[in-house]
Amino acid sequence: MHYCIGDYIQDIVENAIEAGSTYTTVEVQEKDGYLTVQVNDTGKGMSPEEIAKALDPYGTNGSKHPNRKVGLGLPFLAQCVEALEGEFRIHSEPGKGTSVCFRLPLTHIDAPPIGNLAETFRQILTYPGTHEIRIQRTRGKDSYTLLRSELWEALGDLESVGSQALLKEYLESQENALVPEGVPQ
């Protein structure tokens, strides 16, 4: 179930990695009361029919969860964006990759909380594999960039409990250093 925006982001990135993406970029920008998220991947891509199926709650290709009759990741996101009068775009080309973008007003009374993005990024970055992930996080004029390969090099691995604890500490320091919007810099 999706409780916060971080859950949606994690879902999209998980889809990208499962689609065989070797280079995934994630941009999360908070500006003027809006949150914009863009995820681009180099996975296997989807045809227009497959995109329609991905947006249908009762549509699933059965590969990820063989016994499940529903696929709710993107439909939940599309529904949430629609309820908040935000924007949602998905573009995909078979063999080239997929790009998912959404924009939400954070001040809307029904907007879900952003959630703990440091924890979301930690989970995204520690999916097993040799793929690259680049995360660009911006709030107002502040920003930071994370590159999975750089973090891997600094920590030696991303899977051990020790590395994950250090990674969490690092990500929290990045996230907490962002100046809240509306505070004079």
Binding site: L155, G156, Y170, Q174, A177
Partner: protein
Amino acid sequence: MAKMTLEELKKLRETKKRELEKREITGKDIEIIVGMATCGIAAGAKQTLSAFLNELEAQNLSNVLVRQTGCMGYCYAEPTVEIRMPGMPDIIYGKVDPETAVKIVRRHILGKVLINDHILDKPAADIMKK
């Protein structure tokens, strides 16, 4: 919280790795066993343990194993610390504050001299089987 750089993350990893190595048991012939039961912790055993780890780091001693144990039965003399090393009798020291911990490393472990003011007992021979 200040923003951490990748260099700082690397350094932090190295520091934590060295701390973990102190708990590694292979290739170590000196043991420092700190009583960390409620009585010990209440009397400051955590600070004593940190003092040992810091002093071992400062003296660059890599053949020393630091272990935690429960109550040794000397609650009136906590924090208690047992030292085992070749060439010295096994000793339990009592009332080991951080300052005494530093003394133990410098005088007992490095200088092979007992710290008479803090000697409490020797480990019970009947249950200590080698």
